[in-house]
Symmetry: D2
Subunit: 344 residues, 4 copies
């Protein structure tokens, strides 16, 4: 019963097979190989737009490199107070941007509210005493397991662009949001104004692969230098590109995300019915945050279930994350145990 | 006939198998998994010393993180003028150290000469107007395909330590130097005074894996933060550790290096006999630099051989790199073509 | 009627005279001169403690250099949401620390509340995914014109030190707080646990001079390098030291601060009596924030008074700052105009 | 007999007077004052060109800020091996540029030779593995006390611009070079292709004042942010601007430089005649480097003369620097002592 994180899961068989498939023979290094070229073409098709693609191995690298490309050292990135970039990346955005500031803004269900952003813009733009708002970063799906609608993104992007800010999307769980909303990748990104996307694959079945996707290649002009000087340019790039290639081939990424989301839905429905249970947020991806009676939590842990208490060791709100390969039996076992412990 | 670089080769079958072998089931993320623990223990055995180990995916990351751990922003790293850190990492050491300076020092056969270092130390130590010498970085094997002897390293380390500098070793081709010299990993590192080692595996058969190895774990105290904020902490760490684990298991790393070195020796002997040929440096690893008549070079390229002219497009000195899996037939074909073109 | 800022005022005659007094003859450069030595001795006397002193020209430099000395790049500085370092220094602390994060925490009257700090510590200490709390920064006097009591500082310092954090004090208006509280410099700093102080003189009568004061010189070991590489080491240092020397000689700094504070008190008492007026915060230094009827504000501006509306162009809360040389007549004229406009 | 450095001298009376002259009354802070506006206009006149001017207090700040404006973090600055930016600024250019590399190039008499630069360009431009050549920095007058001719500068600038590099001039002793050459400020800067100039005043009579001068204001767009976040924006800016204003008023800067240069010429002529003496470089500014018999050096030091042995404590090459206010009697006394010691 592994619900601690989607990064405790392994690699999708299709992706593992892809590594073996590209292993024969020599290939040009540092991205000059045919697999990488094919990947860029596939992502252009997928997003229905010209793209500049930079595969890297971690989400933190993708976010930090992408943000640094659109934020000067004296800039500010407006983001949700709970955003991964603000809370869980050990100052990586500050490091990569050479000192930019993240401005944490709270908002319900992990989302930035348009009004809260409007209240801060144009803010101190042009005044050299203050950090210069340079980007808005949206997490899709959010850290609360919810998903921004295309219209929400578009409204925020319009505000951002009106004031000269870029729109960054941390898509570590982009697939999960996408399949929940039932929209196209284009609708969720550039059509809604997103300028640069961290297109995550690791949590959804890759070994370690994310693509930084720029919808305006002109913005990516310095990226080859940024990536290399950060040590994120793989010499045997084909193995990074092959993961991403397999990920978007034959809908693997969507299948994996649907599987994970469906498990989250089953958990939400099952747990939601229990006495004393309360879901903190709508469940729109593969994470749920649920308040449960202490005895239920203690009992689930004792039964071997893996999960985190969300707000510290005495919290009675737990986070459950369903991975791309979570077993139906695991979900059933968890629900049965919870139900039994809750006294139904 | 692939001699352009050892990073155009693929993954050793044993390493690819290791990825599959650790893929079953869930594993704790970010390095809390058993594969990573096992790796650290194995490397302690291998080096016969307590070690702190930080797996990362690229050599540039390994070098830049390791150097930053021992060099303050106002520090200087003394290194060979041709060192990878100085020439081929796009200012990564400067980035990671927040502004330290690399001091390039020339020397024959890619090696730093003790006397040249002595002439620079203590130099400006203590004077706030000048960069503070903080580390000496040695490349093993060197960029010229030669290998420092343990005694050479020990003499340089003694000088470094006498003045409070740390000794860093860029071991992107550490295995190649080791098997050439026929010494133990301990003799080539901490017994000779090395403080931090980039233990390379990628060029010698891994997908993308290097270990930063500290022989004094106290020096590594900040490394978890440095690695994370750089985006080099893998969530699914087991797949990085598994590569390194397989690499040092059952002597794979030594076998691969011996194979590559032997091919380089064959090339050196065969080419060295040709009229008009001259080897620039002793061949002590898996690289050779050889001056050849222009018609031989042109002919080899026309025959499909992959290699680089070393000093620009009109240079008649070519670099040949033999990978862990270079075919004997490829070597033979190259030598035959060269011999024929040279008119023998 | 200049109440816009204390940095619109000029130089105290005593300080200007000191520049001329040290101008005769040659002097060793970069701080090896006797004026600088004398200054360090005087500050040790003044603070009744061994100190390491680093004169610089701006408050932003003092804060950023001092904070960087106690905060690693992966660190976090807990500070008030309205702190100068957070709002008005254009990411200087982030720049100098190579990427540390400021954590803004709100609190009444510009002060950090102990309970709010306790709720955040130890927080994520030791977890490499998160910024590491490294320092607490207090502004004295605060940006709201209030002053921390020695007991308040001591309680916060005890918390900080218990968790290994340093205590930084932005003392751009240190003198103003000191004379208001009627305590000694020692009581307001190291006796209350302060580790590093930006000892401001510019706002209180200097040309451009602040001293970074470390109460534990061991913490300052790297400061000569930090200051030099930031371009903040003056070649003709005597002229920076002479300003600070004159500042603390014969009580000039206290006289200037008392004059400014007294003017602020007169304004507070006079304006506080007006109908529709409300002081936002206790007036404990040389700043006051007062809500006034719009017609009074408009009228004052029309009468030529200089001040800022505090919360944007339509705010009816204005900030008044009294400089070290504010004229009694200016204060009287302002109060009379305000009284007349308020219809009394 | 003070010949150790021109920064041991004090402030020109005219500049000290200017500080007092602008001290009356309040003035807008942070550069919005009329003195600063006047300065910018005067410099535009002086240089016969539109300029963007940023006064700072130190030469290191001027160089580091100016270079960072034209060099990305992955960039390289080509400079003379003995340049102040490379040797004497404690990695300030690396700090301000967030990690750019200085490429030291040797050359006779402290000058970069065109051929040596041509050999390095375009070099690795466009290749993400290598630092990207971004600027050439010239020191005028050089660290050897020589001066680049306008034609030399123009040839280097043409090369730089052909490859997209900017031309930076470290003009810490700009006035000394200018009066030696007898050309106009325009001829020595933008007409010869200089893009950004550190216009030094401190060594030539100011308290602490340098102006970063951009001849294409578009390049200076980010400078207000860069300067502020570095802590180099003075709140009481009028006192920085007033120094520079007085410096260029009524030819003060030229008079001071001529005086210093003339003293250097007298020293050169007098010492050059002594048996065993040899001037290392042409004397074209206010520095000279002269080899003398050891007994002469020892005797001069014993007689109280201040100077540096140039290449370490046993060197018999000494550096003499003549300040703007060096006394004729000091020069005479030095020459007489040297002559006597040399046995004439």
């Amino acid at each position: 019963m592994h619900f601690a994180s989607d990064n405790t899961a392994g690699i999708s068989p299709e992706i593992l097979a892809a590594l073996a498939a590209v292993n024969d023979g020599a290939a040009a290094s540092y991205g000059a190989d045919p697999v990488t070229a094919r990947l860029e073409a596939k992502l252009a098709d997928l997003f229905e737009h010209e793209v500049a693609v930079f595969p890297v191995a971690t989400g933190t690298a993708a976010n930090a490199l992408g943000l640094a490309a659109v934020t000067p050292p004296w800039g500010a990135v407006l983001c949700h107070a709970g955003a991964h970039i603000a809370c869980d990346e050990a100052n990586a955005p500050e490091f990569y941007s050479a000192g930019a500031k993240l401005v944490p803004i709270d908002g319900p269900d992990g989302k930035l509210a348009l009004a809260d952003l409007e209240a801060r813009l144009p803010g101190d733009l042009g005044n050299p005493h203050h950090a210069q708002p340079a980007a808005i970063s949206l997490t899709q799906a959010t850290e609360c397991g919810t998903a921004y609608r295309p219209g929400e993104i578009a409204a925020i992007s319009a505000l951002a662009h009106r004031h000269g800010l870029a729109v960054h999307m941390d898509g570590a769980r982009f697939a999960n949001a996408l399949v929940h909303l039932g929209v196209s990748p284009a609708e969720l990104t550039w059509r809604a104004g997103v300028d640069v996307l961290s297109f995550g694959a690791t949590k959804n079945g890759a070994l370690a692969a994310e693509a930084i996707v720029f919808f305006d290649p002109a913005r990516a002009r310095d990226m080859p230098f940024r990536r290399k000087r950060a040590g994120h340019l793989f010499s045997k790039m084909r193995f990074l590109s092959a993961q991403l290639d397999a990920y978007v081939t034959d809908g693997l990424w969507l299948r994996n995300a649907r599987h994970a989301n469906a498990a989250a839905q089953r958990l939400a429905e099952g747990l939601g019915r229990l006495p004393g249970a309360r879901l903190r947020h709508p469940v729109e991806a593969n994470e749920l945050f649920v308040e449960l009676p202490e005895r239920v939590i203690t009992g689930l842990a004792a039964a071997g279930a893996q999960f985190h208490r969300w707000e510290g060791p005495t919290s009675t709100c737990i986070r459950l994350v369903t991975a791309w390969n979570i077993g139906d039996a695991e979900v059933s076992a968890f629900l049965e145990a919870a139900s039994r412990l809750a006294g139904r």
